[in-house]
Amino acid sequence: MPEPVISAQNLVKAYKVKGKPDFLAVDGLSFEVAPGESFGLLGPNGAGKSTTMKMIGAVSTRTAGDLRILGLDPDRYGPEIRSRLGVVPQQDNLDGELNARENLYIYGRYFGLPGSVCHQKADELLAFAQLEDKAKSKVDALSGGMKRRLTIARGLINDPRILLLDEPTTGLDPQARHVLWDRLFRLKERGTTLVLTTHYMDEAEQLCDRLIVVDKGRIMAQGTPASLIREHSSREVLEVRFGSDRNQQIAARLQGLGDRVEVLPDRILVYTADGEGALERITQDGLEPITSLVRRSSLEDVFLRLTGRSLIE
């Protein structure tokens, strides 16, 4: 592996809480990201993903551990590191008093780019974000998806080496998500290193070469999406519903059916290499589920296995 562009060793972020021991939002994370890689942090809300992103973004200072971004220590070289990063925060922080194009232009100025370059980049990025006809619109008049695309476009104004995306598609409708994913693929093809957090397993599977599963500030597992699924889950999953009052009772009868049986409030998950086969045996036993579905294992299942909880609660 070439030298990593991001390297974190035992990264810790503690917050003071009155009258209580410090709250460890990030509790000893270690990971490396290779140039051109698309790296994901997957975990539920409050897992410490955003805090980690803020530390990688050379904004939030770490409490302990070692961190190098582009070979530099963010405590000392914050502006230098940030000059080569693109950042898409979880909450849009565009300036509502400027129009879409001005938001791009002025952001380019922050990097010391000459005005003429900023104008040119602003036009290119409006096209990239499919917002050319909204160039003169005030930001407040844009839809959520448009604002998100504009924020991503803004993050690209300096041709960043690393693009940090914190929950890039949260709150977007499916179509807007796919447009965004497409834009991110293109960046990846150009060699931009992507680091993203998400609590959507499909997003992680689509976009990430490699990811860490984070919960309560710690790494639960890491690897490629495929290897994580292989290691921590079965090939297929059978989902059956018997009605919320009967799931628990019937699950007891399904024990031993596959590798593992998991009961959720609304359904039972049977982890097995052969989902159809398992379903057949259930019906042969005279049990008739209200609905049934055989699907491939996903990262959601990995997370459930590792933490006993769902990603989206």
């Binding site: 070979g71 230098e80 300036d95 400027l98 002025i106 010391g112 803004r154 080496r161």
Partner: protein, 302 residues
């Protein structure tokens, strides 16, 4: 999608820019890119703040031009006509309008400060969060604080310069020869510093607030208004009973107004008092500035 080796490492698709720069290249590039924002970041933020003001540019311009015309005209043809006896200001006799005008100029700066250093700061941290956007770029927290202060100072400068212009015109019309042209222009920088002495500590306070639960309205009603009324704006401070005069002494408005009177019509002043006026305004401005930078830095680094 890129292909993968069995280890999961991405393999570049053919035709893509396959050569990644080395870490040394990337480090050198970052060090180079960081230089300009480190030097000039304050001015980038200032540029943004001033650009964003154009959204309410007409209020700024109408306020800057309209306020002096209305106040001066109102006082000149109204109150000053009523108060025909000259004001005894520290032993010097001056017409009422001449006495009031320097204080009105300082008030204009302070009133801009009470707008620009309150809600826009809350906006940047909380409502629109654009300070966090600034901070994700190479700009540092200190530069953001600087830019916010200097941007507001630019608007203040416009307001006091307009006031100065109209005061000069009114005096030429009504009281030619009363002002000292050689020093009167100094009331512009004095007004600016007066506005900053009030505004910069206020910006620090605004930056420390997590929520707006009406604090700014309280500042307006219980700090700005009493200051305006009890700082020797409309009458010499000595007119007030002793137990109220302290308001003037702690008020940047009084110190700025007194300095304005000294440079406008040569109000006599003891050297120690002159020094006190200047020092007080500078201490508030510089102290507030240091505090604001610290508060911005702590909040953005969370």
């Amino acid at each position: 999608m890129t292909d993968r080796t069995p280890l999961g490492e991405p393999v570049e698709p053919p035709g893509a820019t396959s050569v990644h720069p080395t870490l040394d290249d990337l480090r050198a590039e970052a060090l180079e890119w960081g230089g300009k924002p480190r030097r000039l970041g304050t001015w980038y933020v200032t540029e943004h703040i001033v650009r964003a003001m154009r959204a309410y540019g007409w209020t700024i311009v109408v306020g800057a031009l309209g306020q002096p015309i209305l106040y001066l005209l109102g006082l000149a043809v109204g109150l000053a006509a009523l108060i025909s006896a000259p004001i005894d200001d520290g032993g010097q006799q001056v017409p009422y309008l001449v006495f009031v005008a320097p204080a009105l100029l300082a008030t204009a700066a302070i009133s801009v400060a009470s707008e620009e250093f309150t809600y826009p700061v809350m906006q940047g941290f909380k409502w629109r969060r654009y300070f966090y956007g600034f901070n994700a770029s190479p700009l540092s927290s200190g530069q953001i604080a600087n830019g916010v202060i200097i941007g507001a100072a630019a608007r203040m400068l416009l307001a006091v310069a307009a006031y100065f212009l109209f005061i000069t015109l009114f005096f030429l019309w009504l009281y030619p020869g009363v002002t000292d042209q050689a020093t009167a222009w100094l009331s512009v920088p004095i007004g600016l510093v007066g506005g900053l002495a009030f505004g910069v500590p206020l910006a620090a306070y605004a930056g420390s607030l997590e929520d707006d639960t009406g604090q700014f309205a309280l500042v307006q009603r219980f700090i700005f208004m009493p200051m305006f009324l009890f700082s020797g704006t409309f009458y010499p401070l000595a007119v007030l009973p002793g137990w109220l005069q302290w308001i003037g002494w702690v008020s940047p408005l009084w110190h700025a107004s007194e300095l304005g009177r000294i440079v406008t019509y040569g109000k006599p002043v003891e050297p120690w008092l002159l020094g006190t006026h200047i020092a007080y305004l500078l201490v508030l401005t510089v102290g507030g500035w240091i505090l604001a930078r610290r508060i911005f830095t702590r909040r953005l680094a969370r």
